[in-house]
Subunit: 358 residues, 2 copies
Amino acid sequence: MLSARGAVRQMHEYHPPLSRRVGLCLDFNENTDGCSPQVLERIRAITAEDLVRYPEREPAEKIAAEHLGLEPEQVLLTNGVDEAIHLLCQAYLEPEHEVIVVTPTFSMYEIYAEATGARVVRVQCECDFRFPFKKVLHAITPATRLIAVASPNNPTGSVATRDQLMQITKAARHAAFLVDEAYFDFYGETVIPDTRRTQNLFVARTFSKAHGLAGLRIGILAGTREQMPVVRRVSSPYSVNAVALLTLPVALADREFVTGYAQEVKQGRARVEQTLRNLAIHSWPSHANFLLLRIGECHREFVAAMRERSILVRDRSTDPGCDGCVRITIGTAGQVDRLLAALREVAAELKPGHEVTA
Amino acid sequence: MLSARGAVRQMHEYHPPLSRRVGLCLDFNENTDGCSPQVLERIRAITAEDLVRYPEREPAEKIAAEHLGLEPEQVLLTNGVDEAIHLLCQAYLEPEHEVIVVTPTFSMYEIYAEATGARVVRVQCECDFRFPFKKVLHAITPATRLIAVASPNNPTGSVATRDQLMQITKAARHAAFLVDEAYFDFYGETVIPDTRRTQNLFVARTFSKAHGLAGLRIGILAGTREQMPVVRRVSSPYSVNAVALLTLPVALADREFVTGYAQEVKQGRARVEQTLRNLAIHSWPSHANFLLLRIGECHREFVAAMRERSILVRDRSTDPGCDGCVRITIGTAGQVDRLLAALREVAAELKPGHEVTA
């Protein structure tokens, strides 16, 4: 009888609650307003010839590298950030290694790391979900082979400074250091230029958030010229589909779409924060297109009550340090109006947050 | 300084010669005539809403399962057959394991197996590239954990019988047995129904060949209800993009497109075989949309001379047992005309195959 690897039998499963998403979807931090119309136009122009051939990644990688101010060898297009994480785990991790993740965070770091049999070392955020810089430094051992930090972090919205990130690369030269900049477009600070000279630094970007292309599955992994050939070696040559590759130059070129959307989200985020204060619901400062709310014991009822109003939000109460927390994606001004109306109604009904002190 | 895993440092690299493919592409066994017009129509109807959301695999998996006469739990949609192979390697292989591959064959079995650190055991085809059934049985040891067989095989076009495949599943109950049916549509025999009751059998299918959708990156991995949850556990929930998921039902429904194309290819294949006989160039019986030709010492010149005539074919001379061999994809009747004219010219020029006895 066939049996799976031990590490696979023990790993956590990831079941994103994707099915039957009907209504205003503020549950996956996607762009709630669509994508660049120019991307749609490019897709309408796709021919049979574009589809029959195996996708060729290099031309789009060259364009992505130019956009980021990097050399083409430094850039690998990936099947979303998921594949970028997966490749780093495969390229560097053996079962005797340790992986440092800052919790709470995006769950795929742990999942792919566990699949290799490596030991996951969880470093909890500081008070108010601040980046636990000193604790990360302290957690580094000779066995550390991967450190993954999302900045802005999901689901907290908190960030690490460039100085902190660079100090970590120096303290762990023997480890791959992934800085996941999935929410970069809502924040604006980046360590991408540092991949030119920091041999163990990798930076991931995605088109799934601000660009509104989660369905296309495209991300970017940037790293040094020394390390990227290693990662490329474990990557599948065809993991990114032709539609994504053909639309990437268009998506990158329409900067107005992304900056305009990010601007609208940031204004909306401030409005939601103000309303939450008025409702005495605690939320944490966020540099991304979402807010994490401390709803308290009635978090399940809160999510259900929002769903009754056709608004999907994400219960994050099982994330480490997130008891009673719910994450809400911020959308357009009109969607924020709708969200605020629902929030006021639900708050009046449930009195969320009132049993805890923030 | 960061260094990669030992297995990664040692693994073979796969560099498909994809760049600058101009002319009649008979080098990657793609559909040379496009895809179903209904697929293109579906793509033209794609909306921003289809793109902004993370792709949901389950509805398309249900449709694929119905098409194959299987239960939905038995079917996983994958990012091409590549991901299916990758997932099996990740789910089952430890460094102390052995993987049996029948050479020459599709290179990704070895590449993904090597990345796990497992030992690859190569079983060479019999004379005339016949399936080495007894040698495979003989190669099975208690350490065998994966056996990969393509039927029809690439680049040879040869097949294994259902009886042989079933005997292998019985002789290696402790190993995952992958039957890669990428070229099924040109052959017609399948072991898909056997995944209902054979606990260690997996079957892969692709939309990259007969369906003409290599650019979309979509494949199917079928297995038993006992084993598929294991494979699903290591799979990324979003590896298949929304465009592929939305077009899959349309591609499956337009059976006429696929059967018509397969019919035309088979007729063309017979014509090419006849011409090759007339030119005294040896080829082997093929059940797929390609032929493997013994060109001999001038194989490089042959490929170059075809390229001069704007026809791309694939040098396979470095594959085990394939000295001097070139693989040519068979296309439509008109493309076969063009191929035959070029073959006659190049044969007159180079006298291929004349230095070897077939």
